[in-house]
C-alpha cells in the first residue's frame, strides 16, 4: 500500500478542461459537503494544479461542492472532478453522505419541517 501522500502519484494529473477524464470515479452531488484534511499540517505536492490548490484552500472548513464551485468561479462538473482526485489522494474528505436515489426518509423530512418552521418564527 502506498500512503496517500506517497510520491508515486500525487493527486494531480495535468488538468485540461475535462479532456483527461469527464466522469469522476465516485459520485459527488452538488450538495455533498467537502472538507480539507488537516489544512494546517499538510500541503499539496508541487505538482498540484492551481485549481486543485484553490479548491483545497477553499475547503479548509466545511462547504458544499456547489458553494466551492461558485466561490472559485468554476463549474460544478469541474469541481467534482478536482474534488474526486483530491479525495482519492487523501487531501480532501466528504462530510455528508451522497444521496440515495429515493426520497429521504420520513424522520429526516420531519427534521427538515421542524427546521423550516423555526425559520418562520425567526
Amino acid at each position: 500500500m502506498t500512503g496517500p501522500r506517497g510520491p508515486r502519484r500525487g493527486p494531480v494529473r495535468p488538468y485540461v478542461l475535462t479532456g483527461g477524464r469527464a466522469r469522476p470515479r465516485q459520485r459527488l452531488a452538488v450538495e455533498t459537503l467537502l472538507e480539507t484534511v488537516d489544512p494546517e499540517g499538510t500541503d499539496l505536492p508541487v505538482t498540484a494544479s492551481r485549481q486543485e490548490r484553490m479548491l483545497w484552500r477553499m475547503c479548509r472548513h466545511r462547504l458544499s461542492v456547489a458553494e466551492s464551485a461558485a466561490h472559485l468561479g468554476l463549474s460544478v462538473s469541474v469541481v467534482t472532478i478536482l474534488a474526486c482526485d483530491l479525495i482519492d489522494a487523501g487531501y480532501l474528505v466528504t462530510r455528508s453522505q451522497v444521496p440515495k436515489a429515493q426520497l429521504p426518509d420520513v424522520h429526516i423530512l420531519q427534521e427538515v419541517l421542524d427546521g423550516l418552521r423555526r425559520q418562520l418564527s425567526a
Partner: protein, 202 residues
C-alpha cells in the same frame, strides 16, 4: 434549541457539526422569481454557478440544421438554510425548459422534491415543466408567484389549466417574502413526507 455559535469563523462556511445536506429544486422559466425566492429564504447571498451541458440537438427547434451535439451554458442560482446543528438544506434554482433537462438528471437524485414557480401572466411557459414532472413522478408543489399586475385566478381554474392532480399542492406566494417562500417550502416537504409515508404502507 440548536445554536449556531459553533459555526466556522467565516460566514460562508458551515458549522463543523453539519453532516447532512439536503436539497430542493426550485424550477421555473426565466423571470418567474426563482432567484428571488431563493434569496428570500437563504442565509447566504444567493450564489451562482454556470454549468455547461452537452446534449443531442435532435428535437430542439431553434437548433435545427445543426447536427450532433451542442453545448448550452446554464446558470444555477442557489442558497442554503441551516436547519439545525447537523442539517443543511440547499435550494437550487434551475430553469425548466426542455433543453435543460439533462442538468436535472444529476440534480434530482436524492432531492426532497421540486417547487415549480409559475407566473400566471405566462402560464403556458410552465406546461413543459409540468409534463416532464408527471412523466418522472417526482414530488412537486406548485407555487404561483403573485406579481402586482397579475390577475388572481380561482384555484380550481388554475388546477384545471395546469392539469394538476388533486393531491398536488398549489400555493400562492410572494417570492420576495421570507415568510411566504418558507411556507411554500414547508408545503412541499409536508407533501413529500406524505408520499414517503404512503410508500411505507404500500
Amino acid at each position: 434549541m440548536d445554536s449556531a455559535d459553533n459555526s466556522a469563523p467565516d460566514g460562508r462556511y458551515l458549522a463543523p457539526t453539519v453532516d447532512q445536506a439536503l436539497k430542493i429544486l426550485v424550477v421555473g422559466s426565466f423571470g418567474v422569481g426563482k432567484t428571488t425566492l431563493v434569496g428570500s429564504v437563504s442565509e447566504i447571498d444567493p450564489l451562482r454557478t454556470e454549468e455547461t451541458i452537452t446534449q443531442a440537438s435532435t428535437g430542439v427547434d431553434d437548433l435545427s440544421g445543426l447536427s450532433g451535439k451542442t453545448a448550452t451554458t446554464v446558470a444555477m442560482d442557489f442558497g442554503r438554510i441551516t436547519l439545525n446543528s447537523r442539517m443543511v438544506l440547499y435550494l437550487f434554482g434551475t430553469p425548466g425548459q426542455r433543453r435543460f433537462w439533462d442538468l436535472w438528471e444529476g440534480l434530482v437524485i436524492g432531492s426532497i422534491g421540486l417547487l415549480v414557480v409559475i407566473d400566471t401572466r405566462r402560464i403556458e411557459d410552465s406546461f413543459e415543466i409540468l409534463d416532464q414532472l408527471d412523466v418522472r413522478s417526482l414530488p412537486f408543489a406548485v407555487a404561483i408567484n403573485q406579481f402586482p399586475d397579475s390577475v388572481r385566478y380561482e384555484e380550481a381554474d388554475l388546477r384545471e389549466a395546469l392539469d394538476l392532480l388533486p393531491e398536488t399542492p398549489l400555493v400562492h406566494i410572494d417570492a420576495r417574502s421570507h415568510h411566504s417562500s418558507t411556507q411554500a417550502l414547508i408545503t412541499l416537504v409536508e407533501y413529500a413526507a406524505r408520499i414517503k409515508a404512503q410508500e411505507k404502507v404500500a
